[in-house]
């Protein structure tokens, strides 16, 4: 198309620069005749170093290859990778969260099917927990390798506050409401929530649906399986329970306007103004880095069960947070696959473990007690529900987050929200 020619035109100066660079750099990398581009979001010092070191090992083993890496901040990454694919100029190896957005690239014919590679390399595939590939699958084919972490949603709480008010971590919904009541009566906001970004609020809704209807209810609705519907009573009930919490005053003031990215919810915890927060298990490490003193008072418990609910142990989260995939535009997919293997080799996995991140590898020896508890939760659970906004196609994922924010604002009824989601799903999913 026209835009392609335009792009070529725009790239000419860039190409010229690249050429100049190549000529200048030639003596340094005399043997490197091939380059592999790689984009990821590991910008924090330790995670970034782990990826860089893995790539250095790969380059040492393959002296003819030079890896050109870009580590990009989380949100800009989402925009950048989309534009790169739109312009048909994606990197060779790229990271994603699997699910809906990755599926968009797959359906556009821009991602390499990794199933043949995995079939050929049984030993490599067998290292991983089988279910860890699930979110990177489309139509039975695998498009990504889980590499960075296992993240589960849990409720973090201030043990000191709980002890002072003689509270126990609630196991059931009525117990949770009781705790909310007690905390409020003592001038403490029960939950810190920063829902400007919408995904933190969505976490409550996802757990409620999972507890009430089990994992199948979402799966069936998302896959448009017989009987599956986003207007299913479980979704409506989840909306009701969510608004029950809002009406009970369970959230610190300002929740729909607070920004997670600038630490608004954690600040409420640190100051003792709020007692709990529902967040991914990365939050433990974040708090440890941000406020080591407070981190000593921190503990977590599983989302409570609901009366009459179908599931008490299901978890929301992701096994294999961050998948590495290969684009179709990559001219050396075999080399790229070897690069991915290097990025998930034993050295990298151990280094991540030391950094409190658990790559979904079988038989990984987890010694840190909190990590062990998380792993036990995962082992007890029959299912892992990926974030809806990553599981669904982007358009529906956005609608889901918008609707949940409206539920929190009490400006839509649970029935309306469920119906709107179902109407959109009918139009969007086939």
């Amino acid at each position: 198309m026209q835009s392609a020619t335009l792009l070529k035109l725009l790239k000419m100066p860039a190409a010229a620069c690249g050429l100049a660079w190549a000529t200048w750099a030639a003596p340094v990398h005399a043997q490197a005749t091939e380059t592999l581009t790689e984009w990821d979001i590991q910008v924090q010092p330790v995670p970034s170093r782990i990826v860089a070191e893995a790539q250095a090992r790969f380059e040492k083993a393959n002296p003819q290859v030079k890896v050109v890496r870009s580590a990009i901040l989380n949100d800009p990454y989402k925009t950048k990778i989309k534009i790169a694919f739109g312009a048909n100029e994606p990197p060779c190896v790229f990271s994603s969260w699997g699910g809906g957005p990755l599926r968009e690239y797959v359906r556009a014919g821009q991602v390499t099917d990794l199933s043949p590679y995995l079939a050929k390399d049984e030993a490599f595939r067998e290292r991983f927990v089988a279910s860890s590939f699930d979110t990177a699958k489309t139509d039975g084919k695998t498009y990504g390798v889980p590499a960075e972490n296992t993240s589960l949603l849990v409720i973090y709480y201030n043990t000191e506050l709980f002890a002072k008010l003689k509270l126990q971590p609630p196991k059931t919904w009525p117990e949770l409401l009781q705790a909310v009541e007690t905390l409020k009566a003592n001038g403490v906001a029960p939950f810190a929530l920063a829902n400007k970004s919408k995904w933190p609020g969505s976490m409550f809704y996802m757990y409620l649906v999972d507890r009430i209807g089990g994992a199948e209810v979402f799966r069936k609705a998302a896959d448009r399986a017989p009987g599956g519907s986003f207007a299913d009573p479980a979704f409506v009930e989840a909306g009701k329970r969510l608004q029950e919490l809002v009406k009970a005053g369970a959230f610190a003031q300002g929740f729909n306007g607070l920004d997670y990215d600038i630490g608004s919810s954690r600040r409420l915890l640190y100051s003792g103004k709020a007692a709990m927060t529902l967040m991914g298990s990365w939050e433990g490490a974040t708090i440890k880095n941000e406020n080591p003193e407070f981190s000593k008072k921190l503990d977590f418990f599983a989302f409570p069960s609901l009366p009459g609910g179908k599931s008490a142990t299901g978890v929301v989260g992701t096994v294999g947070d961050n998948f590495y995939s290969i684009s179709k535009a990559c001219k050396q997919p075999d080399l790229a696959f070897n690069l991915i293997k290097a990025m998930v080799d034993d050295t990298s996995v151990q280094a991540r473990l030391a950094d409190n991140r658990i790559v979904p590898i079988k038989g990984l020896k987890v010694t840190e007690p909190n990590q062990q508890r998380l792993m036990a939760m995962l082992a007890d659970s029959k299912s892992v529900q990926l974030w809806y906004d990553q599981d669904l196609p982007p358009k529906l994922g956005e609608l889901h987050k918008d609707l949940v924010q409206s539920l929190f604002a009490l400006s839509v009824t649970p029935e309306e929200a469920a119906q709107k989601m179902e109407t959109a799903a009918k139009a969007e999913l086939h």
Partner: protein, 308 residues
């Protein structure tokens, strides 16, 4: 012989110069025109073209759906709500920013000594990046830790302490207030420049005639500044229609869509929902709205000028 050759040579030289004079503008303008075509006209036409497609912006081209996106836009309550917010923002900008800017400009114009420091001080908000301003004000407006609510509580005005960004009744108003704070300096400078061109003799003559400061302002300075004020009003309305950055940082268009403007809606549609076709429709509609209002405003201004 020599004379004849000269007589022949002259017209040739003149013709050549004539030719050069005729083509010179073309040569000089060609690079800018080419750039304009490439970076202004082409993307414009391309986005209109994209607005006719159903496309997620990836790989193979989208499906041509004709005017489907435009029909959808006409029925899209979110878009109309966003447009309404843009218009409200424009109105508030004119009604709030311009009078404050004018007051500051008059004050600075009068206070000749020491006014340079004040000028710089008042100008500062415009120099900060919108992202930084957004983050700072998110903290200032924070209902739990922000100084505004803390101040209100300290004064015993608990009822006035609100959830400024998280409550859909106040979010848009809060954002508009910050936008005004950030943009007032720009119009202040504009008015100061206008006032600087005000002939001092006029002022002296008026004082000799014992005109009160109010009379001088309303009868002499205001008419003198009319053109500047109209320009400022136009700029602020057009700027408001295209507004994006501060709102994106402070509320992301939320909560619950309450502070959504056309540009934030377009961004979300293209980059979060992967709807490049429909997002382009929103962008094109934005272009049409701005062009329409700007054209209308300019006509109105011109009529005013011929009347005055």
């Amino acid at each position: 012989m020599t004379s004849s050759s000269i007589s022949l040579a002259l017209p040739v030289a003149r013709r050549r110069r004539h030719l050069a004079a005729r083509w010179a503008p073309v040569f000089f303008l060609a690079p800018s025109v080419a750039l304009l075509l490439l970076f202004l006209l082409y993307p414009l036409l391309e986005s209109f073209h994209l607005s006719l497609l159903k496309w997620n912006g990836l790989g193979a081209n989208g499906i041509f759906t004709g005017t489907d996106n435009w029909v959808q836009l006409l029925h899209d309550t979110v878009f109309w709500h966003a447009l309404g917010n843009n218009l409200l923002l424009g109105l508030m900008s004119v009604l709030v920013q311009l009078p404050i800017a004018m007051a500051l400009a008059l004050m600075l114009d009068k206070a000749s000594r020491g006014s340079r420091i004040l000028k710089i001080l008042y100008f500062l908000p415009l120099l900060f990046s919108s992202v930084a301003v957004g983050v700072v004000f998110k903290n200032i407006l924070d209902p739990n830790f922000g100084p505004i609510n803390a101040g209100l509580h300290a004064l015993g005005l608990d009822a006035l302490a609100q959830d400024w960004l998280g409550d859909k009744r106040y979010a848009l108003g809060s954002v508009i207030a910050v936008i005004c704070w950030q943009n007032v300096p720009f119009y202040m400078i504009l008015f100061l420049a206008g006032l600087a061109s005000f002939p001092p003799e006029l002022h002296e003559a008026a004082t000799l005639d014992r005109a009160t400061p109010a009379t001088i302002f309303w009868r002499i300075k205001m008419p003198h500044l009319q053109g500047t004020i109209r320009t400022a009003a136009m700029l602020s309305v057009i700027g408001s229609l295209r507004y994006f950055d501060l709102i994106y940082v402070m509320t992301g268009g939320g909560p619950d869509g309450s502070s959504e403007v056309m540009a934030t809606y377009m961004y979300r549609t293209v980059f979060a929902s992967f709807q490049l076709g429909y997002g382009s429709t929103i962008a094109s509609a934005m272009f049409l709205v701005v062009t329409l209002i700007a054209g209308f405003g300019m006509r109105l201004t011109r009529r005013f000028e011929t009347q005055v």
